[in-house]
């Protein structure tokens, strides 16, 4: 029972990070209909920005996270302009290749600029709370709460503001959206900015717990893809649910089946869900 509660908390922490990254991925998929392989690497850049802001410039943790958000928003928009915008009329496979290219570019750039070492963001919130035998650090608690906060903020933005609704409108029907006067270009840039901010948020939150290194993005992007497939490509509630499901399944699978089969369990869930509901839990835009 102790182990169960502990693993549940561990799974929630992991799931929160997965959710934030998967949300960005699913948003971009929603409007571009192409998986942005480079999204995990935006997360990596976000972690580096947070790291340097804190260690080189001695910025406060929250300010560093904010700075990472701003830098990443700019980077996201640049990526849309330079990589994806010129390909907007090209076949999906071209965008696909471009995304992979952007991913490799970012990783190689990180290696050249910052080297291959593992770095760790200094931990400020390192108090450990003990509830019975359950132990959780302050930082992990912050991850769980801040992720929920970010998700609520995103939801409010998409549902309650006009700009937000325009993103949803475009995700639902690109042609329809431009017919009613939505500027497709602006929405595309905006979506990239928001998705990148979410990635920066995830990175800033996870940074002090995990290590920062150039290939960290490749690890999380795999998980994020599984999540958006589970949740339904392009679906926002799907990404949230998928993120938590994957995080908790991994933790539980590792503790009750075998640590060797942790990923096997996670992918088994993926196969099961896809067998029962091939379009994902929250199917959207089935064609």
């Amino acid at each position: 029972m102790d182990l169960f509660a502990q693993q549940l908390v561990n799974g929630l922490t992991l799931g929160s990070i997965y959710c934030l990254v998967a949300l960005g991925l699913t948003l971009i998929y929603g409007i571009m209909e192409v998986p942005n392989f480079a999204h995990g690497h935006l997360y990596m850049v976000g972690a580096y920005v947070t790291f340097f802001a804190m260690t080189l410039y001695g910025l406060n943790y929250w300010l560093s996270a904010l700075l990472a958000g701003v830098v990443l928003a700019v980077l996201g928009v640049l990526m849309e302009r330079i990589v994806f915008h010129p390909l907007r009329h090209a076949p999906a496979s071209n965008k696909f290749i471009a995304a992979v290219g952007a991913m490799m570019f970012l990783e190689a750039l990180a290696r050249v600029l910052w080297g291959s070492d593992f770095r760790s963001i200094p931990v400020i919130y390192d108090k450990v709370f003990t509830i019975g035998t359950l132990r959780i650090t302050e930082q992990r608690l912050i991850v769980i709460i801040a992720a929920i906060f970010l998700m609520i903020a995103l939801n409010l933005f998409l549902k309650k503001t006009i700009i937000g609704s325009s993103i949803e409108a475009m995700a639902q029907n690109r042609d329809g959206a431009s017919l009613v006067g939505i500027n497709v270009n602006n929405v595309a840039m905006l979506t990239f900015a928001i998705a990148s901010i979410l990635a920066a948020g995830a990175a800033a939150l996870a940074g002090p717990i995990f290590l920062v290194f150039p290939s960290m993005g490749a690890l999380i992007i795999m998980k994020a893809f599984v999540i958006i497939v589970i949740g339904g490509m392009g679906s926002i509630p799907g990404a949230v649910l998928g993120g938590y499901v994957l995080g908790i399944t991994e933790a539980m699978g590792a503790s009750y089946i075998s640590t060797d089969y942790k990923d096997v369990v996670a992918f088994l869930v993926l196969i099961l869900i896809l067998t029962i509901k091939p379009t994902g839990i929250f199917a959207k835009g089935v064609r």
């Binding site: 561990n10 922490t13 070492d117 760790s120 132990r135 996870a206 290194f213 640590t259 060797d260 942790k262």
Partner: protein
Amino acid sequence: MLERRRYLVVFLVILLSLVLAASGCGTAKPAATNQGGSSTAAAKVVNIGYSGPLSGGAALYGQDTLNGLKMGVEEINHGGGITVAGQKYTLNLIALDDQYLPNMTATNARRLRTENKAPVIFTPHSGGVFAMQQFNQEEGFLIGAYTSEPKILETGNKLTYRIPPPYDGYPEPFSKAVMEKYGKRVALVPGTHQYAKDWTKVFVPVWEKLGGTVTGDFAVDYNKETDFYTYVSKALATKPDVLFVGGASKPTAMVVKQARELGFKGGFILMDQAKLEQMAQTVPMDQLNGAVGVRPVIQFDNPGAKKFVEAYKKFKNGEDPAWEQAWHYTAIKVVAKGMEKAGTVEDAAKIFEGMKQIFPLNANDWVAEIKGISAKGGMLGEAHGIMVIDGKYGPDMPITLKD
């Protein structure tokens, strides 16, 4: 029509594979540090090969090992190179990237041998050593093997020079030290790479022989997993007194840190791959209490080690060296002396024989006292362990080597 299209597809596939093959070669750029040539016009150049991970997850490790060689080569060349049978030579280090992949080490080695005529090729991983052992005797080059894997010398290969002490000397003294202080129950949380698996295989029987029990194996991929909480939580649920951990230093440090966060109060046994001094950059020393590992080279106070540490700091802007750099620096100098002794820069077998004759090396001039090179080809250097006690490095723990 269909026929023609099929030909087209086949043609495209071939074209694509050619392009890929070409780009694959392109990634292995020679990072030559050519210091011979113009200034010493009379001196000839002898190429020294290196193949190691210079990109990818183990790139830092690769760079560290390469830096040791670079420093050694630079020093030798600044001192006027080597004199072999009356002829002056300078060393030229050619480094190729193998991304930690044994098959790429083999490709690189062939290239270093045929194109550059390198008589010695260094590699810092056991997989690469095994791959080169398939053909190094026929092609006539010596492997400078930086791996503490004892198995590399059991293949009977006559041209393998193992540089660091083998790891099979560590488990017993390490186990005794933590067992005495913390208890007999150990949970295994090592990496999943081959090296960690082999280490674990050597460690477990030793621990059990000493009367200890293993509560379970919770191996985790140190390079692919982002969070170790899941594994560590499960390992701690088996109520161990000691955790057996090891992989690259930083991830290992994270495992230690997370174990402490989860309330673990026992000791740690570190595989020799993880370096205490590098881990201490991530976790505070008092969290490392009860961790036993290899004693850092910067801790040694013999004149040879001190001189090396000073020189390395100058070479790399104040950066502290680890054993990776120290042993590589030593190895390249041993090779250079061996060439002088043997009177050849071409015949690898004779060079190796020459190397064996330059010992013993004393600890006043060298990083450690080195007795010689064993019949199988292992360099007989010193090995020392150390335990962290009350947030400080404890007393020295000399290791008796089996080779």
